[in-house]
Symmetry: C2
Subunit: 242 residues, 2 copies
């Protein structure tokens, strides 16, 4: 039996719904990463799965409705309800992290910075990493700037494969064609590895929902799990690297 933990009174806030299944996956990662033998050993969590937040990629690429006002509104709901930190299991939404941080009084964990930190710690010699993400995340350079600052080059899929990744993300959100999605993601991972990527970042929270990480096609980084690790560390008394 795992030893009892003295749990500080820290509530993790999850700004979710982008999409909801990715939010559930993130919540489950937090539960699984917490050593617990009974309910009361687990970390209190507040989740707002606000599915009304406008599409992030459409806002970045096509001037679609701005998601920032509802992101701020949702973060404030969590803050007022008692959350001590905000986590956001959506990579593309991290374009808005600095604005969110200015609008809230509690720290906002940064999934992209946490992932790059984990990448450097797990593979200190790595110089080139593959990036699977929405076209919004890629065009906005959300990962590339953090990777560049760490001296790591990002390898992204060429256009037909990037279009396929977007179709896969849409299919996962619509809960259809999961086997086909899995095969495509594996094939595109191997293509990035052939182009020199030493590992691949699953940089959209829908992608870990289909990829069997027990038999990865190449070394993979799952930002959903990495963010959950950072949140659990904070809840167990660590500082928020805000």
């Amino acid at each position: 039996m795992p030893e009892k933990i003295s749990m500080p009174d820290r509530i993790i806030g999850i700004l979710g719904g982008m999409g909801p299944e990715a939010t559930a996956d993130f919540f489950r990662e937090i539960i699984q990463l917490t050593p617990a033998s009974r309910d009361q050993d687990h970390i209190p969590v507040l989740i707002y799965s606000n599915t009304r937040i406008p599409d992030r990629t459409a806002a970045i690429l096509e001037g679609g409705e701005d998601p920032l006002p509802l992101l701020i509104d949702s973060a404030k709901v969590l803050e007022r309800a008692g959350a001590g930190i905000i986590t956001m299991p959506c990579n593309t939404a991290h374009l808005y992290v600095e604005s969110l941080r200015r609008a809230t009084a509690i720290p906002v964990l940064h999934m992209i910075d946490e992932t790059v930190r984990e990448l450097r710690s797990r593979y200190p010699e790595l110089r080139s990493v593959g990036l699977l993400a929405t076209t919004g995340t890629i065009r906005a350079g959300i990962y590339q700037s953090a990777l560049g600052a760490a001296g790591i080059a990002a390898v992204v899929p060429e256009e037909p494969d990037q279009d396929r990744i977007m179709a896969v993300i849409r299919d996962i959100k619509a809960d259809r064609n999961r086997d086909e999605a899995r095969r495509s993601v594996k094939r595109i991972c191997l293509g990035l590895a052939a182009q020199g990527a030493e590992a691949v970042i699953l940089g959209c929270t829908e992608l870990p929902l289909v990829l069997d990480t027990k038999r990865p096609p190449c070394p993979l980084l799952n930002p959903t799990r990495i963010l959950a690790q950072a949140a659990v560390k904070w809840a167990r008394g660590g500082a928020a690297d805000d």
Copy 2:
């Protein structure tokens, strides 16, 4: 592609953490029961996984700490945050539903009443049902009173099997011995069927986490899914049968 739904602005509140994995399972049921082809088709959900709520069975059987104050506090957090209804994926906690209803201004769905309603609709001729639940749920008669009012007798496991069910629930909460737990639950289900139960209620939200409902040992009712159905129906414009 499923047709687009016009989604009313109704937020489902989940008073969870009893245990957290059962809460995640309930959240996933809501997502899977919602016809959606993109994030924005999904129902907004607010979850408070308040793992600090004291153990319900210990309160009922051994005079342990009263969970009601934190249940009310958590329901009010959800209400203030904007939830339009409270759902509570914990059967034992339903002993406190009437007190919760008095303390909140929004409806509280009743998992046990919904389950008995579903039982009558799915098996109109049924007169005897097996009940797998915590010893707290069974001793407090939470299901038996609702079943009795519907003219249905409850068959519960005899003492050694009931003790085994409690051990199974503790094991699931501690995330250990799942295969063994699954075998025990199947064996005890078959025992209840041999005693005349025409179906079995999985009356603790931990139990559906281990039972493969694609190949059930006998007809099963999953109150987690039934409560999710009622919540989705409400969110899509239905009345809360409060």
